[in-house]
Homo-oligomer: 312 residues x 2
């Protein structure tokens, strides 16, 4: 089979995929995407990470806002607001079309993986995008005052400003990998773990029975790109979550998190002085530019992730 | 209690209500609205007749199109179309906001009547708008080639261009009138049956146990405005449906349909020569202008419906 399989969360993964589609043939590239952030809202099935990947790699993301769709409008949510309804999770009108289609098709009994393929194809994407599972998986976090809440209530509702004491993947033990997921991971020459949040974006993918086992067994083929640069997450609460969950917010913390499953960690130039500490945990280390500020850097980072030897 | 209760379908009823709100105090006016056209689409609960009443009487209906909301956009449906999804029932972005709110609130376990009150209130409407029932009621029609299909598949999907051999109100026998419906009908000085389609807009309201019984018992207080003028329906397939279901397409056909429940029928000037035939069926007849082409006519028609003696 060969090729590259990418374990993906949302934004960081989508950006790396922008580079990977440049350096890996479409029929050799498979994205295995987190669905722990999925939710039902207003009766609609929303898959934030799948949509972020599709919208980003197809070039539809608003350049101005950096999220959501180009040319988006907000008429539906204005109406929801008029009625005093739940408008904490803002859905654009164009984005709503995706959720309407997905919900409709799921209601007809089609699996999420098939519906995702239709959506990706409609945007002209020709590599494979798979939800890690077609079954229900929900990332839940425990916060001090409210107990256990859904990921989106934490991330969007509370703007990830409260400390998290634990993370749980509800339903994970009953999920099965979506068709093609284990084949892609088993058959790939290279498994890339995208620079997504380890605790709430990558771990739910690994919680699907069988997925972590492949990475553990194929550890030498697994390359992770650190989502922590200079001790900070580029976006989102990965840095705080690492600390709240008992690690340090650094590439060393990331290495400790992934050490059983990942053979090589790609870290940023600014973290070069931590390379020995990472190596001491038993990981190969590659130091390079990892902040994907422009296409040339993104492409080089993708090349490094696929062939870390080339960068050493 | 006193006041006026109006048995309503969609467009024709909404127009008459535009006049009724001018001549009846808000706290004395109750609209009891058909929900047989309701449907679930893309996971959303859609109540076309309730929305038509709210949007029309609050002055939000697009003047240019005559249906849907002023300032409407169609971004979500364009996306559904891109995906090859079900776009036969076009939902505007603003309109979607109403469906999102309704679906969300119903999902929280609130009854449709409460949610409808919230929506009406958000548009500044101060008379009472009640769905005839909070329970599930679905108008089904039988057509030659496809057997039994939902009302919306017939009305929108096939643009009501196929003959109907029968109409059934699925679930009607298990519904209960929404809170306030029987009180409004029992307590009103006048019950008005709006100029809506008798077979598929008014009959589903009457199919809710208890409703037809009140009209039958209070027949002398019930005034219907004929939806057929000069043998034709002003809008929709009421004329063809009357014929397909064994009546004639005329005010006489309407009188025959309603004769057990309605004491007085308001017919248009153009049908004056049929007044005796209507009277022969045992109904009082009032002849007046019924085509609501301008506000003054609408208001006079509303006055006539509330007090038919004034027009005789």
């Amino acid at each position: 089979m060969g090729g590259v399989a990418v374990v993906c969360g949302g934004v960081g993964a989508a950006r790396l995929l922008n580079g990977l589609v440049e350096v890996v043939a479409a029929d050799e590239l498979t994205a295995v995407v987190n669905v722990g952030d999925d939710m039902e809202l207003h009766g609609l099935h929303i898959s934030p990470d799948l949509d972020t990947v599709v919208y980003t790699v197809s070039g539809q993301v608003s350049r101005e806002r950096g999220w959501g769709l180009e040319g988006e409008t907000w008429q539906a949510m204005e109406m929801v607001g008029r009625y005093g309804g739940a408008d904490w999770f803002s859905l654009g009108d164009r984005d709503l079309g995706t959720h309407l289609f997905r919900t409709d098709q799921l209601g007809l009994g089609r699996p999420l993986s098939e519906v995702t393929a239709d959506i990706a194809s409609a945007w002209g994407l020709d590599f494979t995008i798979l939800p890690v599972t077609d079954d229900r998986l929900r990332t839940m976090v425990t916060v001090p005052d409210d107990g256990e809440i859904s990921f989106q209530e934490y991330f969007v509702g509370r703007q990830h400003s409260v400390p998290v004491t634990s993370v749980r993947f509800d339903g994970a033990e009953r999920t099965r990998p979506a068709p093609g997921v284990l084949d892609a991971l088993n058959g790939a020459d290279r498994i890339v773990v995208a620079p997504s949040n380890p605790a709430v974006s990558i771990d739910p993918v690994l919680a699907v029975p069988g997925v972590a086992e492949v990475l553990r067994r194929r550890r030498e083929a697994v390359v992770a790109v650190s989502p922590i640069v200079g001790g900070k997450a580029l976006k989102g609460p990965a840095d705080r979550l690492l600390v709240e969950l008992g690690r340090e917010s650094s590439v060393v913390g990331v290495a400790g998190w992934y050490r059983d499953l990942v053979g090589t960690l790609v870290i940023d130039e600014v973290d070069r002085d931590l390379a020995d500490e990472v190596a001491a945990l038993g990981l190969e280390v590659v130091v390079t530019e990892t902040i994907m500020a422009e296409p040339a850097i993104t492409r080089r980072l993708a090349e490094t992730a696929v062939d870390p030897a080339s960068a050493r």
